[in-house]
């Protein structure tokens, strides 16, 4: 089983993968409509908005939680080099 490199979601079924392509390393939720992977900024904003919408977090808290999550994912390592 693979995990999405951009959000960590487990990918089991074909429909979990971007464009239903099991050779891809990212999931259907991290793909743009044309199938390419979302950029760091796009993904970050998407996750922040999602966390605020579904959990009602204060913006600053949501930003920090999302940064913490993204810093552990293979796709975004270069953005967190110290």
């Amino acid at each position: 089983m693979k995990n999405c490199i951009a959000c960590g979601m487990p990918m089991k079924k074909e429909s979990d993968f971007a464009m239903g392509d099991t050779k891809k390393d990212y999931c259907v939720y991290c793909a743009r409509p044309d199938g390419s992977m979302q950029s760091f900024e796009e993904k970050k904003q998407g996750l922040i908005n999602f966390t605020i919408k579904t959990q009602g977090l204060e913006k600053g808290v949501a930003e920090k939680a999302v940064a913490n999550m993204m810093s552990k994912l293979p796709a975004w390592q270069e953005y967190f080099q110290k």
Partner: protein
């Protein structure tokens, strides 16, 4: 190919994490690394070879726990899932880790900052699946117009209240005993 030594090192790391999981579940997060070392039958120094600080140990443990819950919830959520099925799946996952999860929600406010973020991200996995089910219900107009975060926080609030105050309700597994009642009445609250 991993060397024998690497395999051994990983096994020790995993053993420490598993022991910490049980100790924290039983005694809370104030349990010392000395206590964990003793229970794991390793020297105190060995723990710090793998985890430079207590904070790091707790964060790594929560990361693993997070990944496990993530995998299980994902496996359970299917495309045309009913609200009831989802809520049941959520509780069933929590029942498997009930003692540890109860400690976690009771003590998360006192945990290091990074652990709190891991905790938020753990809930994001739940809210992600929950949101998919609720969006569908909203389209079908089967539930009231309530913002998603209020639905989610009300559900978590309910489950967490029963867990942290389980002594009010039972001596056994409060989630096992109250699962049906909580699910069916929560649905009644939000259903049109």
């Amino acid at each position: 190919m991993k060397t024998k030594r690497q395999v051994q090192k990983e096994a020790t790391r995993l053993h420490i994490l598993e022991t910490a999981y049980h100790i924290y579940a039983e005694e809370g997060f104030s349990a010392t690394t000395n206590r964990i070392a003793r229970a794991a039958s390793v020297s105190h120094g060995t723990i710090f070879v793998h985890f430079p600080t207590v904070e790091n140990l707790i964060v790594c443990l929560l990361d693993d726990f997070n990944a496990e819950i993530n995998g299980q919830l994902h496996g359970l959520s299917e495309k045309n899932e009913q609200l009831e099925t989802f809520l049941e799946a959520h509780i069933n996952v929590l029942i498997r880790y009930e003692a540890f999860y109860k400690r976690l929600i009771s003590e998360v406010n006192g945990l290091p900052q990074e652990a709190k973020f891991v905790f938020i991200n753990m809930q994001s996995v739940v809210s992600f699946h929950f949101n998919q089910v609720i969006e569908r219900c909203k389209k079908e107009k089967t539930i009231k117009e309530i913002p998603m975060h209020i639905i989610f926080n009300s559900w978590l609030g309910l489950v967490h209240y029963y867990l942290t105050n389980s002594y009010l309700f039972t001596e056994g597994s409060v989630l096992t005993e109250y699962k049906e009642e909580l699910i069916c009445n929560f649905i009644k609250l939000i259903k049109k």
